[in-house]
C-alpha cells in the first residue's frame, strides 16, 4: 500500500516537472526576449530590463528554470499587462465560475452515463443498446463549440426554454452572498431558491456542451464494463444464492464495473477543469477559460503561461487523488495477495 502511494506520488511529481519543463522550453524557444513576451508590447524598456533581471535571463539555464518553477509554486505568477492586476488575483476571481461549471457538467455526465449504460445492458434489448451506442458516437464526433451553438439555437433562440449566453445569472440578477463562490451552493446557503434555480438554468446548456464528448466516452466505457462484469460467474453465483436479478446486479456487477470508471472519471474531471476555454467563450461564462481567451487575444503571456502550468498541475492532482482513492476502494490494490499453495 505504502509502495503504491509512493510510486503514484513519484509519477505525479514527474508529470508536473515534465509539464513545467515543456512550458519553460517553449517560452525560451520563442523568438524575442521572454521578458518582452511576458510584459507585452506596451512595456517600457526599463520594465523589460527589470524583469529580465528578475527571471535571471543571462544566468545559466538551470538557474532560470529553478527561478521559474519556484516562482510558480510560490504563487508569484506575475502581472497581467493588459489588466494591471496580479495574475493570481485574476485567476482566483474567475476560478469559482469554472469550477462550478466543471463540477455540474461532471455530475451530469456521470449520472446520465451510468443511467444509459444500465439501460443498454441490464435488460437484453438490442435496440436500446444500439440507440445508446449511436448517441455516444454522435457525441464523440460533434465538436463541443458547434454543439454549444446548436443548443443555443434550439433551446434559447427557437423555444426560449433556457437562458442564452449571458453568463452565470440573468442580467439583472444579484449574485448570492459569497461563501464558496459557487452560485448554486451559495444561493442554497442563503436560502435564495429563486437565485439557485436561475443559476442551475444557466448551467444546463454550457454543461451539456462541455460534457458531451466525455459523456460519450464514459457511456461506452461503462457499457463495456457492465457487459463484461455481468457475464462473470460470480454474478451467477450471487443469483444462485437466491438474490433477485437486480439485487445481484446492484451489489456485485455495479461496484466491479465502476472501479475502472473511477480512473476515467478522474481524467474527465481534470479535462473539464482545464479545458472549458471555448465553451466559456460561447456562453460568456466569466471563468478562467474566458480570461485565458482574452489573454490570448491580447497576447497577455503571463496569464496564458500560468494557466498552462496550472492546468497541468490540476490535472495531475485530480488523477493522483483518483489513484489513491482506487487504492482505498479496491481491496486487490490495498491488500497484497497471500501466495498460498
Amino acid at each position: 500500500m505504502a509502495r503504491v502511494i509512493g510510486l503514484r506520488l513519484l509519477g505525479s511529481i514527474g508529470a508536473v516537472l515534465g509539464a513545467t519543463i515543456l512550458a519553460f522550453v517553449i517560452m525560451r524557444l520563442l523568438p524575442g526576449n521572454p521578458a518582452r513576451l511576458i510584459l507585452g508590447p506596451l512595456a517600457t524598456q526599463h520594465a523589460v530590463n527589470s524583469l529580465s533581471q528578475q527571471i535571471g535571463l543571462g544566468r545559466p539555464i538551470y538557474v532560470q528554470y529553478w527561478r521559474y518553477i519556484s516562482d510558480f509554486f510560490q504563487g508569484n505568477w506575475g502581472y497581467s499587462y493588459s489588466d494591471g492586476e496580479t495574475v493570481k488575483k485574476l485567476i482566483v476571481e474567475r476560478a469559482p465560475a469554472t469550477i462550478e461549471l466543471a463540477l455540474f457538467s461532471f455530475v451530469l455526465a456521470m449520472l446520465s452515463a451510468v443511467a444509459l449504460a444500465l439501460l443498454a445492458t441490464y435488460s437484453h434489448r438490442p435496440i436500446t443498446d444500439r440507440i445508446v451506442r449511436g448517441a455516444s458516437y454522435i457525441g464523440f464526433g460533434t465538436p463541443p463549440f458547434f454543439l454549444a451553438l446548436l443548443l443555443l439555437i434550439f433551446f434559447f433562440k427557437t423555444f426560449h426554454l433556457l437562458p442564452g449566453p449571458e453568463g452565470r445569472l440573468g442580467v439583472q440578477a444579484i449574485p448570492p452572498p459569497e461563501v464558496t463562490g459557487l452560485y448554486t451552493v451559495d444561493a442554497l446557503l442563503a436560502g435564495q431558491l429563486h437565485t439557485f434555480w436561475e443559476a442551475v438554468e444557466h448551467l444546463i446548456l454550457p454543461s451539456l456542451a462541455l460534457g458531451i464528448s466525455s459523456w460519450s466516452f464514459l457511456v461506452r466505457l461503462l457499457r463495456a464494463n457492465l457487459l463484461e462484469v455481468s457475464r462473470e460467474p460470480f454474478i451467477t453465483v450471487a443469483r444462485g444464492k437466491g438474490l433477485r436479478r437486480w439485487t445481484a446486479f446492484r451489489r456485485h456487477a455495479l461496484p466491479n464495473a465502476f472501479l475502472p470508471t473511477l480512473t476515467a472519471g478522474g481524467l474527465v474531471l481534470g479535462e473539464f477543469l482545464a479545458g472549458s476555454v471555448l465553451i466559456e467563450r460561447v456562453f460568456n461564462w466569466p471563468g478562467v477559460g474566458s480570461l485565458v481567451f482574452e489573454a490570448i487575444i491580447k497576447q497577455d503571456y503571463a496569464i496564458v503561461q500560468t494557466f498552462i502550468l496550472l492546468s497541468a498541475v490540476l490535472f495531475v492532482l485530480v488523477n493522483l487523488i483518483v489513484d489513491l482513492l482506487y487504492a482505498v476502494i479496491d481491496p486487490r490494490v490495498r491488500i497484497p495477495s497471500v501466495a498460498t499453495a
Binding site: 462473470e232 451467477t236 450471487a238 444462485g240 437466491g242 456485485h252 479496491d330 486487490r332 499453495a341
Partner: protein
C-alpha cells in the same frame, strides 16, 4: 482415488437405478428430489438458433448422485443453468417441467425462484477464481447467502453461521478469515468457500458444474472428498457435471451421458463402465487413459467433431461420427427414441436404434 467409504456406497446403491424419459412423471413429488421432463433450451442470436438442451428428462432421488458427462459444448452447463432458471438472454428455456420437491418451478417468476435458489437447490461453479466477487469479503459473501433467505437474522448471528460454515469446509482460523478478500485465498480454498455458500441453507439438491476442473490434482482430490463428506452429512442430492469419467466412477451413483444437448444414455454407474451401450458412451470410455491398455498403443480419439448445435443433422446427432451408424440410412433419417434395456450391470435408457442388439452382444 477411492473416495467413498464402502457402507455409504452400499446404502445409496438402490438409488442408482435409471429413470428414463419413458417413465411418467406422475408420483414424482414424493419420490424424487428433482424430476426433469422434456427440458429444452435455445440461444437465439440474430442469425442462428443454438439448441443447447434438447428434450432432456431425468429423475434424481433424495441423496442420489448423478454424474452428467459429455464433451465441451454438449450443453452440460446450459442444462445446469436451465434447471436453476438462470438462463440469460439471448438464451431461453423453451419447454419442459422441472419438479423440485413436488413443485414445478419451470415457470416461476424471478422473485419466486429467488426463494428457491440457494435454499432448496444450490450451485457450485467450475472456476473458483471467478466465482467470488473480488471486492467483497468472504464473510460478506457467505452472510449474503444466509441472509437472503432469513432477512430477520441478526448480523452477528449470520456471521457466526458463516464462520461455522467455513469451519465445516476445513478452513482454519475461520473467524479471522471471514474478513479476507477472495484474492487472499488459494484456489482450493476459494472452491471450499463456494461449496460453503452452496450448502449454507441445507439445499436438497446441489448442482456442481465441473467443481474440480480448474484445480490442480491434489486439490481436486481434497475438494471432492470434502464435497463427498458434506453431501453425505447434509443428505443432499447432487448433479455433478464433469467430463472426467474417473470422478464419476468415484463419486456418483448414476450417470447420464450428454451429447449434442441430449442425454443419450442414462444408467447406474456400474453399467456405463461394464456395458456402455450407446456407441458414444463406448467411445468416450475408450478415451480414458488406462494403464492396463498401454499395450494397445496410443489412446483412441473420437473421430470428427461434435455437431453444430445451430444446424443439427436429422436423425441421430451422433450418426456422422458413429462407427455403427455412419453409413446407415436409418441412423441419418430417424431420431432414435429412448430404449430401456437391461444389461449385466443393471438397467439403462439409451437413445440408439441398436440399443437392444448391442446390450445382447456384451460379453460379461
Amino acid at each position: 482415488m477411492r473416495l467413498l467409504r464402502a457402507p455409504d456406497r452400499a446404502a445409496r446403491e438402490n438409488a442408482g437405478a435409471p429413470h428414463g424419459a419413458t417413465e411418467p412423471a406422475a408420483g414424482a413429488s414424493s419420490e424424487y428430489a428433482l424430476s426433469v421432463r422434456g427440458l429444452s433450451t435455445v440461444y437465439e442470436t440474430g442469425e442462428a438458433t443454438v439448441h443447447a438442451v434438447r428434450d432432456v428428462s431425468f429423475d434424481l432421488r433424495a441423496t442420489e448422485r448423478l454424474g452428467i458427462v459429455g464433451e465441451s459444448g454438449s450443453g452440460k452447463s446450459a442444462l445446469a443453468l436451465s434447471i436453476l432458471g438462470l438462463i440469460e438472454a439471448p438464451g431461453r428455456v423453451l419447454d419442459g417441467e422441472i419438479v423440485l420437491g413436488g413443485r414445478d418451478i419451470a415457470r416461476l417468476s424471478d422473485r419466486q425462484l429467488g426463494a428457491i435458489r440457494g435454499k432448496q437447490i444450490a450451485l457450485v461453479l467450475q472456476d473458483p477464481s471467478t466465482a467470488l466477487d473480488p471486492v467483497k469479503t468472504i464473510g460478506a459473501q457467505i452472510v449474503e447467502a444466509i441472509a437472503v433467505h432469513e432477512p430477520q437474522l441478526r448480523r452477528a448471528a449470520a456471521r457466526k453461521r458463516a464462520a461455522d460454515l467455513l469451519r465445516e469446509v476445513d478452513i482454519s482460523h475461520a473467524e479471522q478469515r471471514l474478513d479476507d478478500y477472495p484474492h487472499q485465498y488459494s484456489g482450493g480454498m476459494r472452491q471450499r468457500v463456494a461449496i460453503a455458500i452452496a450448502i449454507a441453507n441445507n439445499p436438497s439438491v446441489l448442482i456442481a458444474d465441473e467443481p474440480t476442473t480448474a484445480l490442480d490434482v491434489t486439490t481436486q482430490a481434497q475438494v471432492l472428498a470434502l464435497l463427498d463428506r458434506l453431501v453425505d452429512e447434509h443428505r443432499t442430492a447432487v448433479i455433478l457435471i464433469t467430463h472426467n469419467l474417473g470422478i464419476v466412477s468415484d463419486f456418483c451413483d448414476s450417470v447420464a451421458v450428454m451429447y449434442a444437448g441430449r442425454l443419450v444414455e442414462t444408467s447406474g454407474v456400474e453399467h456405463i463402465f461394464l456395458a456402455p451401450t450407446h456407441p458414444y458412451s463406448e467411445a468416450l470410455l475408450k478415451c480414458v487413459p488406462n494403464p492396463e491398455r498401454l499395450t494397445e498403443g496410443p489412446l483412441p480419439a473420437i473421430t470428427g467433431f461434435p455437431p453444430d448445435l445451430s444446424s443439427l443433422p436429422t436423425g441421430c446427432s451422433f450418426a456422422p461420427r458413429c462407427p455403427i451408424g455412419r453409413d446407415l440410412a436409418e441412423c441419418h433419417e430417424r431420431t432414435p427414441q429412448p430404449h430401456r434395456v437391461s444389461g449385466p450391470a443393471g438397467e439403462a435408457v439409451v437413445e440408439c436404434h441398436f440399443a437392444e442388439r448391442r446390450i445382447r452382444e456384451v460379453k460379461v
